[in-house]
């Protein structure tokens, strides 16, 4: 069957159509991938130990970087916000300013970005290498679903670890702000924590919680997908890893804005 060449005027339309279909197909594959992973979470057998290993992989191994970045983020906030507030004579509000920035925005976003760089890239590389060395095919021909063994435990672990890591980030950050505001700049401890307790309410904490929960799914979803659909050879793995980190980071920020407009 030979195709007749398309008239010249229709060629741009043809290109646009092809492009649009390719995008929709890619999104469809991306969505089906998550759907399949969630499907395997609902049906036995459950890979409990794989899930625990993933918490270790994503969570525990990122702990140090979370502590470091959380602490310094809080300290920087403490310093910068203090010098802004002092111009309005309202440095008493340093506590709530630091806490609200961390809890509503910076904690979930920065923790997610850090974990993406630390564990997300490793996740993509690991699964990508399993793909190019045919380990994923080996699972498939053993009549075992690789999604159940590799993807679903990672996504579930993301769901559990991201809120915890965000909470750690926030807490460490608040104490980082305390260190600068109270110990260094001489604010009173009571003012710092007291005003914080007055202004932060459960809605703020829930907002951060929902954000981190969704980032947990987002990052593990993107990173496992990119690893699973890796190209050829070491170059393919390298590209997939970069793609996964870039796409995760962009989606985190886009989704963060979206959540910010939807949530109270």
């Amino acid at each position: 069957m030979t195709e007749r060449p398309l008239p010249l005027v229709l060629r741009p339309l043809d290109a646009i159509g092809r492009g649009a279909i390719a995008v929709v197909e890619a999104l469809g594959r991306f969505g089906m991938f998550l759907a399949e992973a969630l499907g395997t979470l609902l049906t036995p057998p459950f890979k409990f130990w794989a899930f625990i290993d993933r918490i270790n992989y994503i969570g525990y191994r990122s702990l140090l970087i979370i502590l470091l970045t959380g602490g310094f983020t809080g300290m920087v906030l403490g310093l910068q916000v203090y010098f802004t507030l002092v111009r309005f004579g309202s440095e008493a509000y340093l506590g709530p300013a630091v806490a609200l920035s961390l809890i509503r925005e910076l904690g979930p976003v920065l923790a997610a970005l850090m974990v993406t760089g630390r564990a997300g890239s490793a996740l993509t590389a690991e699964i990508g290498i399993m793909r190019i060395t045919e380990q994923i095919d080996a699972l498939t021909v053993m009549a075992l679903n690789p999604v159940r063994y590799l993807v679903a435990p990672s996504i579930l672990a993301g769901l559990v670890t991201f809120p915890l890591m965000t909470a750690i980030f926030d807490t460490v950050g608040i104490f980082g702000g305390y260190l600068v505001g109270v110990e260094l700049l001489g604010l009173s401890q009571g003012t710092y924590f007291g005003e914080m307790q007055t202004f932060v309410d459960l809605n703020d904490i829930m907002m951060g919680f929902w954000k981190s929960l969704s980032f947990g799914v987002l990052v593990t979803w993107v990173c496992t997908y990119k690893g699973f659909h890796v190209g050829h050879g070491a170059e393919g793995v390298a590209k997939a890893t970069t793609d996964a980190v870039v796409l995760s980071s962009v989606l985190i920020l886009v989704w963060d804005y979206f959540m910010g407009t939807v949530l109270p």
């Binding site: 498939t140 021909v141 053993m142």
Partner: protein, 247 residues
């Protein structure tokens, strides 16, 4: 019995399989030979259901694996053993855990039975007591043996070997070949092997099939293939460079 009928597969504009026919007798060792990049691995991936053809059928004991999906395909795969090119051992597990994996995850055997079968299986390939090492810690030849042990531990009816000796020295090639031959005599599985190892492969094959240009150009016992009048087959067996083709 495996029966491949008119199998067609293209990647983009490149047609890799062009109406390939082949029969593999039950209990035999059938070796597919042919040029690198000629589609041997692609053919193998169709047999184990990792690729879907554009046309044609693959009948395994009467069931068309190219049409099967989900549970039915898994049912067929449970009777398969596959030895991948690089071994495809799970890096994160010890060799013993690799061999135990299909028993534990698929057959759900009790731990004690898994342990005895793994030990027996490793002994069969000459790796007693090596189970606690990780794949990265053992040599290439040992990795292939572990991969063979893992493929055979579930006592499959059909075992596929995708270039099991690539990257090994000539002595190891022979060792692996004889290992396969001995295990075949003992366990009586049907073996389909993709290989480059000319002429070593003629010692263990019951049938040799030459894949060229997307088709099987000749198939028969090793003696027949070695004495083949077909120019393509003769060139390949003697390793003559491509320039001679036009003569």
């Amino acid at each position: 019995m495996i029966k491949i009928e008119r199998l067609v597969k293209s990647f983009g504009s490149q047609q890799v399989l062009r109406g390939l026919d082949l029969e593999v007798a039950t209990g035999s060792i059938t070796v597919i030979i042919g040029r690198s990049g000629g589609g041997k691995s692609v053919l193998l991936r169709h047999l184990i259901g990792l690729l879907r053809p554009d046309g044609g059928r693959v009948l395994v004991n009467g069931a068309d694996v190219t049409r099967l999906g989900g549970r039915a395909l898994d049912e067929v795969r449970r009777r398969y053993g596959v030895v991948f090119q690089g071994g495809a051992l799970f890096d994160s597990m010890t060799c013993a855990a690799n061999v135990a994996f299909p028993l534990r995850e698929n057959l759900r055997l009790p731990a004690a039975e898994v342990a005895t079968r793994v030990e027996a299986s490793l002994a069969q390939v000459g790796l007693e007591g090596m189970g606690s090492k990780y794949p990265a810690e053992v040599s290439g030849g040992m990795r292939k043996r572990v991969a063979i042990a893992r493929a055979l531990v579930t006592e499959p009816e059909i075992v596929f070997f995708d270039e099991p000796t690539t990257g090994l020295d000539p002595i190891l090639v022979n060792t692996i070949h004889h290992l396969v031959l001995n295990l075949h005599r003992k366990l009586r599985f049907t073996a389909v092997m993709v290989s480059h190892e000319i002429p070593e492969i003629f010692e263990i094959a019951d049938a040799v099939a030459m894949l060229h240009d997307g088709r099987i150009v000749e198939v028969g016992p090793p003696g027949v293939i070695q004495a083949s009048p077909n120019r393509v087959v003769r060139q390949f067996i003697r390793g003559e460079p491509e320039g001679a083709e036009g003569a």
